[in-house]
Amino acid sequence: MPIPDVATREIAAAPAQPERPLIRISDVSKTYQNGTVALSDVDLDVAHGEFVSLIGPSGCGKSTLLRLIAGLGQVSSGTIESPLSRRDARGEPIRDLGFVFQDPTLMPWATVADNVYLPLKLSGVGRRAAKPRIEEALAMVKLGSFAQAYPRELSGGMKMRAAIARALVVEPKVLLMDEPFAALDEITRFRLNNDLLRLWQEQRWTVVFVTHSVFESVYLSNRIVVMSSRPGRIVGEVEIDAPYPRGDAFRTSRIYSEFCRQTSAELARAMAGMEEE
């Protein structure tokens, strides 16, 4: 998939707003009612325009952290500042966050267009006003000609595109993605990776991306945050200092495999303490 000609951004230039990160997670812990400590003392700043991946073994709390950023669930202690915690003039929370789940989570009874319309419908936007925005979101993920299809008629990759379009229709500043491509085959995943990077560069989003794939995280991210389990915590970070746009040439480059090796080593270190499991 060719990458459109967009202004190439250097990593150093993108997150250049050190005075105020877009998302600031301070000292956050989360303990479930059954006593499981999902997260312990997590600190993480995400700058405007960054692409940050969270990676770690199952049970390291990476999905929990993402859901907390999205406002799904309460922290046990600590604070999360995100666009969601800011309020507009009417005291309504500003919903600048798009969330993409691991499953496409489409409503089977609604067409693709109606699924994408849902976030706007729930916030009271009329159908007519929403129409151009729905079309735009579907065009972004190249699903324009499937607007009237039902989810069951779509392939796995297309369902995921529809789910992404639904997240995009609210024109979010931040996109939170919870292993969105984990269930897809490799060819589809590569293609969606490329599409996501292209959109990220065009739209200047901030992305927080949960994955369990070292290769995917290195390909996509500015920065990889490595987490460990029991309790879930951040144990390391890897800066992926490679220029965008990244394409298939990057995927086969030596520097790419070097970053993968480095990230895998971090991950191995994170898991070293839990051999007995």
């Binding site: 859901r67 999205a70 406002g71 799904l72 929370p93 919903r95 966050l97 969330f99 789940f101 499953d103 989570t105 409503m107 089977p108 009874w109 609604a110 849902l118 976030p119 419908k121 729930l122 916030s123 039902y150 989810p151 069951r152 609210v170």
Partner: protein, 275 residues
């Protein structure tokens, strides 16, 4: 009869479509012909088993009174069905909103369901009083038709995909939006399954009430059967029975058609499988 899953369908048969229509018809014709022939050959008295030709004659002779009676029974059945539908759905929605409400009332709904309707009928007759006996079939049919709708809808409202719930949370859905756009839509296949069962049960309830009420309600199809039986007019009994089955079939297929119309675009039960 708790919560019959709405998506049970027989696997598509490999036989061509035309055969699936033609074969049952041939079987029917053979059966009726054998019945006619055997009854005549063995000279079975017509008050034991009349030949089909005699039943048809009875149906033609008494066509208008029988159809008028069928209309009375159908009206009661449909009214009861609609009352049961509204009651069942409203109470199921209340159950879904409040666990406490469900906990406190559901057992009594079950009691109402498991108590045989025939045994409640005399009591209901006394309560409505001789002046309003016509209300008894409506009440009894409603009682039997109500439960499948209640239990299926309750189950359906609870069977909402958890991720979709999170999605609605994330986008700040109100309680009403959640009910309308998510819970009710998820529950629809269950509700339609419940309706198909309730449609048949409403007819049974109406018939039971007519049987028990006797000549008091006087004009329904079930009463025609009792009446014809008392006079040993067996062909007429069969004719009324035929109309009764026809009512049941019409109700069943109407509800199946409704289910198809509402679900065929998206629900697995109504979508053909290609292999």
């Amino acid at each position: 009869m708790v919560s019959v899953a709405p998506h049970v369908r027989t696997a598509p048969s490999p036989m061509p479509r035309s055969l699936r229509v033609v074969v049952p018809i041939i079987v029917g014709i053979v059966f009726v012909a054998a019945w006619e022939g055997l009854v005549r050959y063995l000279a079975v008295p017509r008050f034991v088993l009349p030949p089909p030709s005699m039943i048809v004659t009875a149906l033609v002779d008494d066509f208008f009174p029988l159809v008028a009676s069928a209309w009375v029974t159908l009206k009661v059945t449909l009214s009861a069905f609609i009352v049961a539908l509204v009651l069942g759905v409203v109470i199921a929605i209340l159950f879904a909103q409040s666990r406490l409400f469900e906990m406190s009332l559901f057992p009594y709904a079950v009691v109402l369901q498991v108590t045989p309707i025939v045994s409640i009928a005399p009591l209901v007759l006394i309560w409505v009083g001789l002046d309003h006996l016509e209300r008894a079939p409506l009440i009894l049919a409603t009682i039997v038709a109500f439960f499948p709708i209640l239990s299926n809808t309750t189950l359906g409202l609870k069977s909402v995909d958890h991720n979709l719930q999170s999605l609605f949370d994330h986008y700040g859905a109100t309680r009403w939006q959640r009910l309308k756009e998510l819970q009710f839509r998820s529950a629809l296949p269950y509700l339609l399954g419940g309706m198909r069962i309730s449609g048949g049960l409403a007819l049974i309830g109406a018939v039971v009430a007519e049987f028990v009420a006797g000549s008091g309600t006087g004009t329904g199809l079930a009463w025609r059967i009792v009446e014809a039986g008392n006079r040993l007019n067996i062909p007429r009994m069969f004719a009324a029975l035929l109309l009764m089955s026809l009512l049941g079939i019409v109700i069943f297929f109407s509800l199946s058609a409704l289910e198809y119309a509402l679900l065929h675009k998206w629900h697995e039960s109504a979508v053909g499988r290609e292999s």
